[in-house]
Amino acid sequence: MTAGATPGHGAPVDEADAHTLTGRVRRWLLRKLPPDKLLPEDQPVFVASWAYVFGMGAVASLLWIIVSGIVLGLNGPQWYHVSSLGSFVNSTHLWSVELFFIFMVVHLWLKFWMAAWRGGRVLTWITGVISFVVSIVAAFTGYLLQTNFDSQWIAFEAKDALNAVGVGAWFNVANVGQLFTWHVTLLPLAVGAMVVLHVLLVRVHGVAPPLEAAESDAQLRRDRPGPAEPPEPAEPRGDGR
């Protein structure tokens, strides 16, 4: 691949350029998500609300969960019982999880009321819900790894729900070795993968416009004179599907 074959900023991708499978994957990726869409410097004018910051809050919390979790994992599950530094790192792991869920839930509520699945964004909604569900399982295994009274009791109680649907034999909440694998490798990878996919889908589709946005809005008109047009009276709207 030569430098000249690389599509520039916003330039259309050269169809003839791809004659291998690799080339076709690259062409598809660049068409779906060109660099200026992946890392844009501006957003539609309606992206002006605190409603848009909670997703990023959840991502920031997740980064803190990962950092504190790596420190805890590298020291083993007994460390935080006996070390004051370990206890503090354990606290940061707990509180970053609480913040992660707080931000994620507020984000979910807001995206519902914004009907953010509109216009082909349904997979973004679904990956978001899956991220939430996988995060719940990941947090649950974390509670089971506390190796204290709380985890002892949670394991004793939770086994019934898991056994009742036939998975307790393989996902054994009283087996700390199994739980360590789930909590430290598989589930973090799953949460990370779902969150990355979710964020990429947001970038691919762009942010969903306001529910009542219309072609005639000042912000959408080609001959935009500025925000001078008086607001139009609301009119009845059908489902419009």
């Binding site: 940061t92 869920f101 529910l211 709207r237």
Partner: protein, 317 residues
């Protein structure tokens, strides 16, 4: 110009929501937002951790149980020998007790795994641990020589006598034909008090162990451990699924799972666990598929909170 209204539909059509935004834009620095987010969340996490810390209530050992509640321990050991404990009657994956599983209609998911984590309560919790002692009690030989029927009748009789005794105290049990059972449970109590039962139950003679299934099941068959949990508001009927020890927030995101255990028809159902899990799976699927559900997906249009979120945009239309 005709106003083409935005649809609530998830479909990719030719409306404003489906096409790339071609209208006016504002500067928005995602990387700057990420950096600010990491710094703000980091300060919050460090601050809250420094102020509130995190709870670490020590775990309960079999030694602690035998020391704090010896009568409960002996009574539980007798039930393990008689095969009348919760674990002995659990069904898969621990044993094949008939009619013990939670079914959903005709569907028996609990039996799918079979007995994959076999637990024989008399042998695993009492007899085998006692046989690892340097000088095993002589009662073991009498137990080994007896028939299954004789064993259960001794153990059941002793278990009933303990339940009837004042304070369930083994020292105050009325006389009867209990065979070697009182000697076995007494020896197990001594073993647990000395602390050696914890190790034997957990690692079964191996150096390494990370599987606490047997110890936990034995502990949970007694009354001491569940009572401790109830005193910390951790039981299932106390919304305990959500709760952490002390005042630290727990898994509040499990509120719905916890709620189902508090209400009918789940609360008093013999298969509560199975139907609660299935109900949660269905509700989670509904949340994921919400954009496809007529009515629910139209709520944002019927209750227009979005006019607050996009108030600047609507003001300038």
């Amino acid at each position: 110009m005709t106003r083409k209204s935005s649809s609530i539909s998830w479909r990719n059509t030719d409306d404003v929501a489906s096409r790339p935004w071609t209208g006016s834009v504002r500067e928005y620095d995602l990387i700057k937002e990420l950096i600010i987010g990491v710094v703000v969340v980091g300060l919050l996490v460090l601050g809250v951790s420094a102020i509130f810390g995190s709870p670490d209530e020590p775990s309960v050992s079999l030694k602690a149980w035998a020391t704090a509640a010896p009568s409960d321990f002996v009574g539980t050991a007798a039930k393990e020998l008689a095969g009348t404990s919760d674990t002995a009657g659990y069904g898969p994956p621990y044993n094949s007790t008939p009619d013990a599983t939670q079914k959903i209609g005709p569907v028996d998911l609990q039996s799918l795994s079979g007995v994959r984590l076999p637990v024989d309560t008399a042998s695993d919790f009492v007899i085998t641990p006692l046989s690892t002692l340097p000088s095993p009690p002589e009662a073991l030989a009498r137990w080994a020589a007896a028939t299954d029927q004789q064993r259960s009748s001794w153990a059941a009789a002793y278990s009933d006598a303990l339940a009837a005794a004042p304070d369930n105290d083994p020292a105050k049990v009325a006389g009867g034909d209990y065979g070697p059972v009182p000697a076995l449970t007494g020896a197990l109590l001594d073993m647990a008090r000395q602390g050696s039962l914890d190790g034997v139950l957990q690692n079964g003679g191996n150096f390494y162990n990370m599987d606490y299934t047997r110890s936990l099941l034995f502990l949970g068959d007694g009354g001491y451990f569940p009572d401790l949990a109830a005193s910390q508001h951790l039981s299932g009927d106390q919304w305990g699924v959500m709760n952490e020890t002390g005042d630290t927030p727990g898994q509040s995101w499990l509120w719905l799972f916890s709620l189902l255990y508090q209400i009918e028809p789940f609360k008093s159902a013999p298969n509560a666990d199975a139907i609660v899990v299935v109900a949660m799976l269905v509700l989670t699927a509904l949340l994921a598929l919400l954009p496809f559900i007529p009515g629910l997906r139209s709520l944002p249009r019927m209750i227009p909170l979005h006019r607050l979120i996009w108030k600047d945009y609507y003001r300038n239309r």
